[in-house]
């Protein structure tokens, strides 16, 4: 089953075209990585899919609902972790999680039990009562991602989820994401190419708002004739590294 289908999805900001006629299909349960250099259109694409930005033209259908015609239905099925750490600073870890669970329709006791489960999965139980603002940057990031997953979304958008995490925290998060593969559809943007290679079922590479390449990491290497994924990415993203 198709979880996400974009149809000529386009976003223009005055004269600049950030996303240009994007046609993309993501299967249910797939972990899809959207890669590209800065300004390639990754975040704009995610913002449109999350109903945060209206497309200039085109549409996208998420789990059968259009972002243009049924945004309320789309919002009930998705959740997102923005690029910046987005937590309520004066709420405790548990309160932050309960708040998101309740916003997505859980009652108080359901929210409490979901928060307990999520804290367990993300190793946040021992900081349950601490205010979010007292957590380290890495733990705040972990909380932010936990908040994106507590509502059991059908589709989760994770924008640079491991930015700023240390190696251990990043690996822990990778394990969480691997555990969710097949259960929920995840769209990931990242600048860490090894992350995309290790986690993703398929990878889409955006360049100047257009989809330049699509396939598994292995397919993209074969397509470019490169031995490493980083070289393949550089070739596909049309980047020139100056010596």
């Amino acid at each position: 089953m198709t979880a996400i289908q974009t149809i000529d999805l386009t976003k223009k900001f005055k004269k600049r075209t950030a996303v240009d006629s994007l046609n993309l299909s993501v299967e249910k349960g797939e972990l899809f990585a959207l890669l590209g250099l800065n300004g390639a259109g990754k975040t704009t694409t995610i913002k449109m899919l999350c109903c945060l930005l209206s497309p200039t033209s085109g549409d996208a259908v998420l789990m059968g609902d259009s972002i243009l015609r049924q945004p309320a239905a789309v919002k009930q099925k998705i959740n997102s972790s923005p690029q910046e750490t987005a937590v309520a600073p004066n709420l405790s870890v548990k309160e932050n999680l309960e708040l998101i669970a309740r916003i997505y329709g859980s009652n108080r006791s359901q929210a409490r039990s979901k928060a307990d489960e999520t804290m367990q999965s993300f190793g946040l139980s021992d900081r349950s009562k601490d205010k979010a603002k007292t957590l380290s940057g890495g733990l705040q990031r972990r909380l932010s991602i936990a908040m994106a997953l507590i509502s059991n979304p059908e589709i989760a958008f994770l924008d640079e989820p491991t930015l700023g995490l240390d190696v251990v925290a990043r690996r822990e998060l990778w394990n969480v994401m691997k555990g969710l593969k097949g259960k929920i559809t995840m769209v990931l943007t990242t600048h860490y190419l090894e992350e995309a290679e290790a986690l993703s079922d398929r990878i889409g590479i955006l360049h100047e708002g257009r989809l330049k390449a699509l396939g598994t990491a292995e397919q993209l290497k074969q397509e470019t004739g490169k031995t490493s994924f980083e070289e393949a990415f550089l070739a596909l993203a049309e980047a020139e590294v100056q010596a």
Binding site: K47, L53, S54, S80, T85, I103
Partner: protein, 242 residues
Amino acid sequence: MRLSAFASRTSKEILRDPLSIVFCIGLPLFLLILVGVLNQRLPYVENFAIKNFTPGTAIFSFSFLTLFSGMLIARDRTTSYLARLFASPLTGSDYILGYSLPLLPLALLQSAVFFITAFFFGLPVTVYVLVTLLVLIPAAVLFIGFGLLFGSIFTDKQVGGFFAIFVYIASFFSGMWLDLNMIGGTLKTFAYALPFAHAVDAAKAALSGEYPSIFPHLLWVIGYAVIVFIIAVWAFRKRMKG
């Protein structure tokens, strides 16, 4: 359910910041006590009589609701917290009410603290005090509306800077410190074109039991509150659409 969860978050964010309690209640309370003590030692000044100064203190304290609600909204925007919530099932009215409603009980608490304190400085304990608390509600809504507006158009740092100007205008032109009749002329006309002096006069009239005098002033306050809220909701919804 969603609204109550979000509104509860607004209360916690503001009340758990010690600065908000210091400024919303502590500073105005200190000024009220200072004026109350000075009244007992210095010759009578009409403006600083406790029955006149207490309503002004309440209005002055409401301006800090503008600061803290504005900063909360602006911070939620700049940290992407609002972007996260905009992608959730919360609706436009959930945001507006969720940011505004929790501040009304705080406004009532502020006013109640000041009037109870004023009793110790000779303010008569009458039913008029309860009427005054009700008359202050539209003024509280007005200041909360300003907070929503500032939070929707400024960054959290800009809200702090702009508030310095706002609190000066609100307190000076409310007639709290200076008798506007004594100033007269263009400044008095200007002051009464703004809502702040009307808010204080409506509360003073309520406290004196002069009910017919309340409504002309209250209508100004309600009119301004409606206009400010309409602009704030428009600005906020514009932000929601990216």
